[in-house]
Symmetry: none
DNA sequence: GTGGTCTAGACCACC
DNA sequence: GTGGTCTAGACCACG
Protein backbone atom coordinates (compact mmCIF):
# COMPACT_ATOMS: atom_id res chain seq x y z
CA UNK A 1 0.00 0.00 0.00
CA UNK A 2 1.40 3.35 -1.05
CA UNK A 3 2.00 5.63 1.93
CA UNK A 4 0.79 9.21 2.24
CA UNK A 5 2.03 9.60 5.79
CA UNK A 6 4.10 12.71 5.33
CA UNK A 7 2.03 14.25 2.58
CA UNK A 8 1.29 17.93 3.23
CA UNK A 9 -0.82 20.04 0.89
CA UNK A 10 0.86 23.14 -0.51
CA UNK A 11 -1.17 26.18 -1.47
CA UNK A 12 -1.08 27.57 -4.98
CA UNK A 13 -0.51 24.25 -6.72
CA UNK A 14 -3.45 22.07 -7.80
CA UNK A 15 -3.87 19.30 -5.26
CA UNK A 16 -4.28 16.59 -7.88
CA UNK A 17 -0.85 17.54 -9.30
CA UNK A 18 0.65 17.27 -5.85
CA UNK A 19 -0.82 13.79 -5.46
CA UNK A 20 0.64 12.76 -8.82
CA UNK A 21 4.00 14.23 -7.87
CA UNK A 22 3.98 12.39 -4.54
CA UNK A 23 3.44 9.04 -6.23
CA UNK A 24 6.03 9.74 -8.92
CA UNK A 25 8.58 10.66 -6.27
CA UNK A 26 7.78 7.35 -4.62
CA UNK A 27 8.50 5.64 -7.93
CA UNK A 28 11.85 7.42 -8.13
CA UNK A 29 12.76 6.41 -4.57
CA UNK A 30 11.67 2.84 -5.17
CA UNK A 31 9.12 2.86 -2.32
CA UNK A 32 6.38 2.63 -4.96
CA UNK A 33 6.68 -0.48 -7.09
CA UNK A 34 4.69 -2.18 -9.82
CA UNK A 35 1.77 -4.08 -8.33
CA UNK A 36 1.61 -1.91 -5.23
CA UNK A 37 -1.90 -1.24 -4.01
CA UNK A 38 -3.17 2.34 -4.13
CA UNK A 39 -5.44 3.65 -1.35
CA UNK A 40 -9.06 3.94 -2.45
CA UNK A 41 -10.51 7.27 -3.48
CA UNK A 42 -12.58 7.46 -0.29
CA UNK A 43 -9.78 6.51 2.07
CA UNK A 44 -7.23 8.83 0.56
CA UNK A 45 -9.59 11.78 0.23
CA UNK A 46 -10.52 11.41 3.91
CA UNK A 47 -6.87 11.12 4.90
CA UNK A 48 -5.86 14.25 3.00
CA UNK A 49 -9.05 16.15 3.81
CA UNK A 50 -9.96 16.75 0.17
CA UNK A 51 -12.79 15.73 -2.14
CA UNK A 52 -12.82 12.21 -3.61
CA UNK A 53 -13.01 13.75 -7.08
CA UNK A 54 -9.69 15.47 -6.60
CA UNK A 55 -8.08 12.10 -5.91
CA UNK A 56 -9.97 10.58 -8.81
CA UNK A 57 -8.56 13.18 -11.17
CA UNK A 58 -5.01 12.42 -10.07
CA UNK A 59 -5.54 8.69 -10.44
CA UNK A 60 -7.17 9.10 -13.82
CA UNK A 61 -4.20 11.03 -15.14
CA UNK A 62 -1.79 8.42 -13.78
CA UNK A 63 -3.89 5.79 -15.52
CA UNK A 64 -3.80 7.72 -18.80
CA UNK A 65 -0.03 7.94 -18.41
CA UNK A 66 -0.02 4.15 -18.08
CA UNK A 67 1.32 4.05 -14.52
CA UNK A 68 -1.79 2.77 -12.77
CA UNK A 69 -4.65 0.36 -13.43
CA UNK A 70 -8.18 0.91 -12.14
CA UNK A 71 -11.20 -1.35 -12.44
CA UNK A 72 -14.67 -0.56 -11.07
CA UNK A 73 -15.28 -2.35 -7.83
CA UNK A 74 -11.67 -3.46 -7.49
CA UNK A 75 -8.56 -2.03 -5.90
CA UNK A 76 -6.34 0.17 -8.04
CA UNK A 77 -2.81 -1.04 -8.59
CA UNK A 78 0.42 0.51 -9.84
CA UNK A 79 1.45 -0.95 -13.20
CA UNK A 80 5.02 -0.01 -14.04
CA UNK A 81 7.52 -1.40 -16.49
CA UNK A 82 11.21 -0.60 -16.67
CA UNK A 83 10.84 2.05 -19.34
CA UNK A 84 8.19 3.92 -17.42
CA UNK A 85 10.20 3.87 -14.22
CA UNK A 86 13.25 5.18 -16.05
CA UNK A 87 11.21 7.89 -17.74
CA UNK A 88 9.59 9.04 -14.50
CA UNK A 89 12.96 9.17 -12.72
CA UNK A 90 14.47 11.20 -15.51
CA UNK A 91 11.54 13.62 -15.69
CA UNK A 92 11.22 14.17 -11.96
CA UNK A 93 14.90 14.67 -11.20
CA UNK A 94 15.35 16.83 -14.27
CA UNK A 95 12.39 19.01 -13.40
CA UNK A 96 13.32 19.59 -9.75
CA UNK A 97 17.00 20.17 -10.46
CA UNK A 98 16.28 22.61 -13.26
CA UNK A 99 13.79 24.53 -11.16
CA UNK A 100 16.06 24.99 -8.19
CA UNK A 101 19.07 25.90 -10.33
CA UNK A 102 17.00 28.45 -12.21
CA UNK A 103 15.66 29.93 -8.97
CA UNK A 104 19.06 30.13 -7.34
CA UNK A 105 20.61 31.71 -10.42
CA UNK A 106 17.83 34.30 -10.61
CA UNK A 107 18.52 35.14 -7.00
CA UNK A 108 22.17 35.74 -7.83
CA UNK A 109 23.68 32.88 -5.86
CA UNK A 110 26.96 31.37 -6.94
CA UNK A 111 27.10 27.62 -7.41
CA UNK A 112 29.06 27.30 -4.19
CA UNK A 113 26.58 29.42 -2.24
CA UNK A 114 23.65 27.45 -3.62
CA UNK A 115 25.20 24.11 -2.74
CA UNK A 116 26.09 25.36 0.72
CA UNK A 117 22.55 26.61 1.26
CA UNK A 118 21.02 23.32 0.24
CA UNK A 119 23.51 21.42 2.37
CA UNK A 120 22.47 23.53 5.35
CA UNK A 121 18.78 22.79 4.84
CA UNK A 122 19.42 19.09 4.37
CA UNK A 123 19.99 18.67 8.10
CA UNK A 124 16.55 19.99 9.08
CA UNK B 1 13.62 49.85 -14.57
CA UNK B 2 12.99 46.26 -13.45
CA UNK B 3 13.87 43.78 -16.19
CA UNK B 4 11.58 40.99 -17.40
CA UNK B 5 13.99 39.89 -20.12
CA UNK B 6 14.29 36.25 -19.19
CA UNK B 7 10.80 35.87 -17.79
CA UNK B 8 9.10 32.73 -19.11
CA UNK B 9 5.56 31.77 -18.16
CA UNK B 10 5.16 28.34 -16.57
CA UNK B 11 1.92 26.43 -16.93
CA UNK B 12 -0.06 25.31 -13.92
CA UNK B 13 0.91 28.23 -11.68
CA UNK B 14 -1.15 31.46 -11.64
CA UNK B 15 0.67 34.04 -13.72
CA UNK B 16 0.26 36.82 -11.19
CA UNK B 17 2.13 34.67 -8.64
CA UNK B 18 4.95 34.13 -11.14
CA UNK B 19 5.24 37.88 -11.64
CA UNK B 20 5.45 38.43 -7.89
CA UNK B 21 8.04 35.69 -7.60
CA UNK B 22 10.13 37.19 -10.41
CA UNK B 23 10.29 40.55 -8.68
CA UNK B 24 11.05 39.02 -5.30
CA UNK B 25 13.90 37.02 -6.79
CA UNK B 26 15.22 40.27 -8.22
CA UNK B 27 15.11 41.74 -4.71
CA UNK B 28 17.12 38.79 -3.41
CA UNK B 29 19.71 39.13 -6.16
CA UNK B 30 19.99 42.87 -5.66
CA UNK B 31 19.01 43.69 -9.24
CA UNK B 32 15.78 45.14 -7.89
CA UNK B 33 16.36 47.97 -5.42
CA UNK B 34 14.26 50.47 -3.54
CA UNK B 35 13.20 53.30 -5.83
CA UNK B 36 13.53 51.23 -9.00
CA UNK B 37 10.89 51.95 -11.56
CA UNK B 38 8.34 49.25 -12.40
CA UNK B 39 7.10 48.89 -16.00
CA UNK B 40 3.55 50.13 -16.44
CA UNK B 41 0.72 47.60 -16.43
CA UNK B 42 0.15 48.24 -20.11
CA UNK B 43 3.77 47.82 -21.17
CA UNK B 44 4.39 44.78 -19.02
CA UNK B 45 1.21 43.01 -20.08
CA UNK B 46 2.17 43.55 -23.72
CA UNK B 47 5.73 42.35 -23.08
CA UNK B 48 4.59 39.15 -21.35
CA UNK B 49 1.62 38.62 -23.64
CA UNK B 50 -0.89 38.49 -20.81
CA UNK B 51 -3.90 40.49 -19.76
CA UNK B 52 -3.38 43.86 -17.98
CA UNK B 53 -5.70 42.64 -15.22
CA UNK B 54 -3.27 39.84 -14.43
CA UNK B 55 -0.43 42.34 -13.99
CA UNK B 56 -2.72 44.58 -11.99
CA UNK B 57 -3.40 41.74 -9.59
CA UNK B 58 0.31 41.06 -9.06
CA UNK B 59 1.04 44.75 -8.45
CA UNK B 60 -1.85 45.11 -6.03
CA UNK B 61 -0.55 42.22 -3.93
CA UNK B 62 2.97 43.66 -3.93
CA UNK B 63 1.53 47.00 -2.76
CA UNK B 64 -0.44 45.26 -0.02
CA UNK B 65 2.76 43.58 1.07
CA UNK B 66 4.37 47.03 1.22
CA UNK B 67 7.02 46.37 -1.43
CA UNK B 68 5.73 48.72 -4.12
CA UNK B 69 4.12 52.16 -4.30
CA UNK B 70 1.67 53.22 -6.98
CA UNK B 71 0.16 56.66 -7.46
CA UNK B 72 -2.49 57.49 -10.01
CA UNK B 73 -0.94 58.99 -13.11
CA UNK B 74 2.60 58.35 -11.91
CA UNK B 75 5.19 55.61 -12.35
CA UNK B 76 5.10 52.75 -9.87
CA UNK B 77 8.22 52.43 -7.78
CA UNK B 78 9.70 49.75 -5.56
CA UNK B 79 9.68 50.86 -1.92
CA UNK B 80 11.91 48.62 0.17
CA UNK B 81 13.51 49.06 3.56
CA UNK B 82 16.17 46.87 5.09
CA UNK B 83 13.72 44.75 7.04
CA UNK B 84 11.62 44.00 4.01
CA UNK B 85 14.62 43.07 1.91
CA UNK B 86 15.88 40.77 4.63
CA UNK B 87 12.43 39.21 5.02
CA UNK B 88 12.01 38.60 1.31
CA UNK B 89 15.47 37.06 1.02
CA UNK B 90 14.82 34.78 3.95
CA UNK B 91 11.41 33.69 2.67
CA UNK B 92 12.49 33.07 -0.91
CA UNK B 93 15.69 31.19 -0.16
CA UNK B 94 14.05 29.26 2.65
CA UNK B 95 11.13 28.26 0.47
CA UNK B 96 13.19 27.10 -2.52
CA UNK B 97 15.79 25.32 -0.43
CA UNK B 98 13.18 23.53 1.66
CA UNK B 99 11.27 22.49 -1.41
CA UNK B 100 14.22 21.00 -3.21
CA UNK B 101 15.55 19.25 -0.12
CA UNK B 102 12.12 17.80 0.57
CA UNK B 103 11.79 16.66 -3.04
CA UNK B 104 15.21 15.06 -3.17
CA UNK B 105 14.67 13.31 0.16
CA UNK B 106 11.29 11.98 -0.99
CA UNK B 107 13.02 10.60 -4.06
CA UNK B 108 15.49 8.78 -1.85
CA UNK B 109 18.62 10.69 -2.84
CA UNK B 110 21.50 10.99 -0.41
CA UNK B 111 22.78 14.47 0.34
CA UNK B 112 25.86 13.77 -1.77
CA UNK B 113 23.77 12.57 -4.71
CA UNK B 114 21.49 15.58 -4.50
CA UNK B 115 24.35 18.06 -4.40
CA UNK B 116 26.05 16.28 -7.30
CA UNK B 117 22.85 16.37 -9.32
CA UNK B 118 22.35 20.07 -8.77
CA UNK B 119 25.99 20.76 -9.54
CA UNK B 120 25.55 18.95 -12.85
CA UNK B 121 22.53 21.02 -13.82
CA UNK B 122 24.22 24.25 -12.84
CA UNK B 123 26.40 24.11 -15.93
CA UNK B 124 23.50 24.06 -18.39
CA UNK C 1 -43.18 -15.38 -15.60
CA UNK C 2 -42.45 -11.87 -16.81
CA UNK C 3 -40.33 -11.90 -19.96
CA UNK C 4 -37.17 -9.87 -20.47
CA UNK C 5 -36.47 -11.37 -23.89
CA UNK C 6 -36.22 -8.19 -25.87
CA UNK C 7 -34.84 -6.03 -23.09
CA UNK C 8 -31.87 -3.95 -24.26
CA UNK C 9 -29.98 -1.64 -21.95
CA UNK C 10 -29.81 1.99 -23.07
CA UNK C 11 -26.89 4.16 -22.05
CA UNK C 12 -27.38 7.38 -20.13
CA UNK C 13 -30.46 6.25 -18.22
CA UNK C 14 -30.15 4.49 -14.84
CA UNK C 15 -30.63 0.78 -15.44
CA UNK C 16 -33.00 0.31 -12.51
CA UNK C 17 -35.33 2.88 -14.10
CA UNK C 18 -35.21 0.97 -17.39
CA UNK C 19 -36.19 -2.23 -15.58
CA UNK C 20 -39.14 -0.48 -13.94
CA UNK C 21 -40.19 0.98 -17.28
CA UNK C 22 -40.00 -2.42 -18.97
CA UNK C 23 -42.33 -3.96 -16.40
CA UNK C 24 -44.74 -1.03 -16.53
CA UNK C 25 -44.91 -1.26 -20.31
CA UNK C 26 -45.74 -4.93 -19.87
CA UNK C 27 -48.58 -3.92 -17.56
CA UNK C 28 -49.90 -1.54 -20.21
CA UNK C 29 -49.74 -4.21 -22.91
CA UNK C 30 -51.40 -6.77 -20.68
CA UNK C 31 -48.50 -9.24 -20.92
CA UNK C 32 -47.83 -8.56 -17.25
CA UNK C 33 -50.79 -9.35 -15.04
CA UNK C 34 -51.52 -9.47 -11.34
CA UNK C 35 -50.09 -12.64 -9.82
CA UNK C 36 -47.45 -13.07 -12.51
CA UNK C 37 -44.18 -14.37 -11.21
CA UNK C 38 -41.13 -12.07 -11.36
CA UNK C 39 -37.71 -13.59 -12.11
CA UNK C 40 -35.48 -13.73 -9.02
CA UNK C 41 -32.89 -11.01 -8.53
CA UNK C 42 -30.14 -13.53 -9.19
CA UNK C 43 -31.62 -14.91 -12.39
CA UNK C 44 -32.59 -11.52 -13.80
CA UNK C 45 -29.25 -9.90 -13.00
CA UNK C 46 -27.48 -12.75 -14.78
CA UNK C 47 -29.85 -12.51 -17.76
CA UNK C 48 -29.37 -8.76 -18.18
CA UNK C 49 -25.68 -8.85 -17.30
CA UNK C 50 -26.03 -6.32 -14.49
CA UNK C 51 -25.41 -6.30 -10.78
CA UNK C 52 -28.02 -7.91 -8.46
CA UNK C 53 -28.10 -4.67 -6.46
CA UNK C 54 -29.35 -2.84 -9.51
CA UNK C 55 -32.27 -5.27 -9.87
CA UNK C 56 -32.88 -5.09 -6.14
CA UNK C 57 -33.27 -1.33 -6.40
CA UNK C 58 -35.82 -1.60 -9.22
CA UNK C 59 -37.84 -4.21 -7.32
CA UNK C 60 -37.78 -2.21 -4.12
CA UNK C 61 -39.21 0.83 -5.92
CA UNK C 62 -41.92 -1.28 -7.56
CA UNK C 63 -42.82 -2.64 -4.12
CA UNK C 64 -42.95 0.86 -2.66
CA UNK C 65 -45.27 1.82 -5.51
CA UNK C 66 -47.47 -1.13 -4.53
CA UNK C 67 -47.10 -3.02 -7.83
CA UNK C 68 -45.07 -5.98 -6.56
CA UNK C 69 -44.96 -8.17 -3.48
CA UNK C 70 -41.84 -9.83 -2.17
CA UNK C 71 -41.57 -12.23 0.74
CA UNK C 72 -38.34 -13.60 2.13
CA UNK C 73 -37.61 -17.02 0.69
CA UNK C 74 -40.53 -16.88 -1.72
CA UNK C 75 -41.05 -15.86 -5.33
CA UNK C 76 -41.87 -12.22 -6.00
CA UNK C 77 -45.26 -11.67 -7.57
CA UNK C 78 -46.94 -8.78 -9.33
CA UNK C 79 -49.83 -7.43 -7.24
CA UNK C 80 -52.06 -5.19 -9.32
CA UNK C 81 -55.60 -3.96 -8.86
CA UNK C 82 -57.70 -2.21 -11.44
CA UNK C 83 -56.85 1.26 -10.20
CA UNK C 84 -53.14 0.64 -10.36
CA UNK C 85 -53.33 -0.81 -13.84
CA UNK C 86 -55.33 2.16 -15.02
CA UNK C 87 -52.93 4.57 -13.38
CA UNK C 88 -49.85 2.93 -14.88
CA UNK C 89 -51.43 2.88 -18.35
CA UNK C 90 -52.36 6.51 -18.11
CA UNK C 91 -48.94 7.57 -16.84
CA UNK C 92 -46.94 5.59 -19.37
CA UNK C 93 -48.96 6.48 -22.45
CA UNK C 94 -49.30 10.08 -21.34
CA UNK C 95 -45.58 10.41 -20.74
CA UNK C 96 -44.47 8.88 -24.03
CA UNK C 97 -47.06 10.68 -26.10
CA UNK C 98 -46.31 14.04 -24.52
CA UNK C 99 -42.60 13.56 -24.97
CA UNK C 100 -42.78 12.72 -28.64
CA UNK C 101 -45.28 15.46 -29.42
CA UNK C 102 -43.11 17.98 -27.59
CA UNK C 103 -40.02 16.78 -29.43
CA UNK C 104 -41.66 16.87 -32.85
CA UNK C 105 -43.10 20.31 -32.22
CA UNK C 106 -39.73 21.64 -31.08
CA UNK C 107 -38.26 20.32 -34.30
CA UNK C 108 -40.84 22.26 -36.27
CA UNK C 109 -42.73 19.31 -37.72
CA UNK C 110 -46.36 19.67 -38.64
CA UNK C 111 -48.78 17.13 -37.20
CA UNK C 112 -49.05 15.47 -40.60
CA UNK C 113 -45.28 15.24 -40.98
CA UNK C 114 -44.88 13.83 -37.48
CA UNK C 115 -47.55 11.18 -38.01
CA UNK C 116 -46.05 10.26 -41.38
CA UNK C 117 -42.59 9.95 -39.85
CA UNK C 118 -43.80 7.67 -37.09
CA UNK C 119 -45.81 5.62 -39.56
CA UNK C 120 -42.63 5.13 -41.60
CA UNK C 121 -40.65 3.94 -38.63
CA UNK C 122 -43.41 1.60 -37.53
CA UNK C 123 -42.58 -0.77 -40.38
CA UNK C 124 -38.98 -1.28 -39.30
CA UNK D 1 -29.57 34.57 -29.78
CA UNK D 2 -30.74 31.01 -29.21
CA UNK D 3 -33.92 30.88 -27.12
CA UNK D 4 -34.44 28.75 -24.03
CA UNK D 5 -37.86 30.19 -23.30
CA UNK D 6 -39.81 26.96 -23.12
CA UNK D 7 -37.01 24.81 -21.80
CA UNK D 8 -38.10 22.65 -18.85
CA UNK D 9 -35.73 20.33 -17.03
CA UNK D 10 -36.77 16.68 -16.94
CA UNK D 11 -35.71 14.45 -14.08
CA UNK D 12 -33.70 11.29 -14.67
CA UNK D 13 -31.83 12.57 -17.71
CA UNK D 14 -28.52 14.43 -17.33
CA UNK D 15 -29.21 18.14 -17.68
CA UNK D 16 -26.27 18.74 -20.01
CA UNK D 17 -27.75 16.17 -22.42
CA UNK D 18 -31.09 17.97 -22.32
CA UNK D 19 -29.36 21.24 -23.18
CA UNK D 20 -27.60 19.59 -26.12
CA UNK D 21 -30.87 18.04 -27.27
CA UNK D 22 -32.66 21.39 -27.05
CA UNK D 23 -30.10 23.06 -29.29
CA UNK D 24 -30.08 20.17 -31.75
CA UNK D 25 -33.85 20.30 -32.00
CA UNK D 26 -33.50 23.99 -32.75
CA UNK D 27 -31.11 23.08 -35.55
CA UNK D 28 -33.67 20.64 -36.96
CA UNK D 29 -36.43 23.24 -36.82
CA UNK D 30 -34.22 25.89 -38.38
CA UNK D 31 -34.60 28.31 -35.46
CA UNK D 32 -30.93 27.74 -34.69
CA UNK D 33 -28.66 28.71 -37.57
CA UNK D 34 -24.95 28.96 -38.21
CA UNK D 35 -23.56 32.13 -36.68
CA UNK D 36 -26.31 32.40 -34.09
CA UNK D 37 -25.15 33.67 -30.73
CA UNK D 38 -25.33 31.31 -27.76
CA UNK D 39 -26.27 32.65 -24.30
CA UNK D 40 -23.26 32.87 -21.99
CA UNK D 41 -22.62 30.21 -19.39
CA UNK D 42 -23.61 32.58 -16.57
CA UNK D 43 -26.78 33.84 -18.21
CA UNK D 44 -28.03 30.43 -19.23
CA UNK D 45 -27.17 28.75 -15.94
CA UNK D 46 -29.07 31.45 -14.07
CA UNK D 47 -32.03 31.16 -16.44
CA UNK D 48 -32.26 27.39 -16.05
CA UNK D 49 -31.36 27.40 -12.37
CA UNK D 50 -28.39 25.08 -12.78
CA UNK D 51 -24.64 25.34 -12.26
CA UNK D 52 -22.53 27.11 -14.89
CA UNK D 53 -20.41 23.98 -15.19
CA UNK D 54 -23.39 21.97 -16.34
CA UNK D 55 -23.89 24.41 -19.20
CA UNK D 56 -20.17 24.41 -19.89
CA UNK D 57 -20.18 20.64 -20.27
CA UNK D 58 -23.01 20.79 -22.80
CA UNK D 59 -21.27 23.53 -24.79
CA UNK D 60 -17.96 21.72 -24.69
CA UNK D 61 -19.52 18.60 -26.18
CA UNK D 62 -21.23 20.62 -28.89
CA UNK D 63 -17.86 22.20 -29.64
CA UNK D 64 -16.18 18.78 -29.83
CA UNK D 65 -18.93 17.71 -32.21
CA UNK D 66 -18.04 20.73 -34.33
CA UNK D 67 -21.37 22.52 -33.96
CA UNK D 68 -20.24 25.45 -31.83
CA UNK D 69 -17.20 27.72 -31.48
CA UNK D 70 -16.03 29.12 -28.16
CA UNK D 71 -13.20 31.53 -27.46
CA UNK D 72 -12.20 32.80 -24.00
CA UNK D 73 -13.57 36.24 -23.35
CA UNK D 74 -15.77 36.19 -26.44
CA UNK D 75 -19.31 35.13 -27.21
CA UNK D 76 -19.88 31.57 -28.32
CA UNK D 77 -21.37 31.08 -31.75
CA UNK D 78 -23.02 28.22 -33.61
CA UNK D 79 -20.87 27.00 -36.49
CA UNK D 80 -22.86 24.72 -38.80
CA UNK D 81 -22.32 23.56 -42.33
CA UNK D 82 -24.80 21.76 -44.54
CA UNK D 83 -23.48 18.31 -43.76
CA UNK D 84 -23.70 18.84 -40.03
CA UNK D 85 -27.24 20.17 -40.24
CA UNK D 86 -28.29 17.19 -42.31
CA UNK D 87 -26.61 14.77 -39.92
CA UNK D 88 -28.22 16.33 -36.85
CA UNK D 89 -31.66 16.28 -38.47
CA UNK D 90 -31.30 12.65 -39.41
CA UNK D 91 -30.03 11.61 -35.99
CA UNK D 92 -32.62 13.50 -33.98
CA UNK D 93 -35.67 12.47 -36.01
CA UNK D 94 -34.45 8.91 -36.22
CA UNK D 95 -33.83 8.68 -32.51
CA UNK D 96 -37.15 10.15 -31.39
CA UNK D 97 -39.19 8.20 -33.92
CA UNK D 98 -37.49 4.91 -33.06
CA UNK D 99 -37.97 5.49 -29.35
CA UNK D 100 -41.65 6.22 -29.53
CA UNK D 101 -42.35 3.38 -31.94
CA UNK D 102 -40.47 0.97 -29.69
CA UNK D 103 -42.32 2.20 -26.62
CA UNK D 104 -45.74 2.00 -28.27
CA UNK D 105 -45.05 -1.48 -29.62
CA UNK D 106 -43.91 -2.70 -26.20
CA UNK D 107 -47.14 -1.38 -24.77
CA UNK D 108 -49.08 -3.41 -27.31
CA UNK D 109 -50.58 -0.56 -29.30
CA UNK D 110 -51.47 -1.05 -32.94
CA UNK D 111 -50.10 1.43 -35.44
CA UNK D 112 -53.54 3.01 -35.75
CA UNK D 113 -53.94 3.31 -31.99
CA UNK D 114 -50.49 4.84 -31.63
CA UNK D 115 -51.10 7.39 -34.36
CA UNK D 116 -54.49 8.25 -32.90
CA UNK D 117 -52.97 8.70 -29.45
CA UNK D 118 -50.28 11.02 -30.73
CA UNK D 119 -52.81 12.96 -32.79
CA UNK D 120 -54.85 13.47 -29.65
CA UNK D 121 -51.92 14.81 -27.67
CA UNK D 122 -50.89 17.11 -30.52
CA UNK D 123 -53.72 19.47 -29.69
CA UNK D 124 -52.58 20.05 -26.09
C1' DG E 1 -18.59 40.87 -19.11
C1' DT E 2 -16.53 35.99 -21.40
C1' DG E 3 -14.88 30.86 -21.23
C1' DG E 4 -11.56 27.40 -18.61
C1' DT E 5 -10.11 24.88 -14.45
C1' DC E 6 -10.04 23.16 -9.67
C1' DT E 7 -12.40 21.58 -5.75
C1' DA E 8 -16.56 19.66 -3.66
C1' DG E 9 -20.59 16.38 -2.65
C1' DA E 10 -24.10 13.07 -4.17
C1' DC E 11 -25.55 9.27 -6.90
C1' DC E 12 -24.96 5.05 -9.95
C1' DA E 13 -23.27 0.47 -11.04
C1' DC E 14 -20.07 -3.02 -9.77
C1' DC E 15 -17.52 -6.72 -6.64
C1' DG F 1 -16.46 -1.88 0.04
C1' DT F 2 -14.77 -0.12 -5.18
C1' DG F 3 -14.37 3.32 -9.27
C1' DG F 4 -17.28 6.44 -12.66
C1' DT F 5 -20.41 10.36 -13.55
C1' DC F 6 -23.29 14.47 -12.76
C1' DT F 7 -24.09 18.68 -10.51
C1' DA F 8 -22.36 22.60 -7.87
C1' DG F 9 -19.52 26.85 -6.54
C1' DA F 10 -15.20 29.51 -6.59
C1' DC F 11 -11.20 31.18 -8.88
C1' DC F 12 -8.15 32.36 -12.95
C1' DA F 13 -7.09 34.63 -17.32
C1' DC F 14 -9.03 37.08 -21.07
C1' DG F 15 -11.56 41.02 -24.08
Amino acid sequence: MISFEEFIIEEGIPIYLQVIRHIKRGIVSGTVQSGDEVPSRRVLSALLGVNPNTIQKAFRMLEEEGLMESHAGAKSLMALDENQIARVCREMLDSDAKNVVSAMKQMGLSKADALALIETYWED
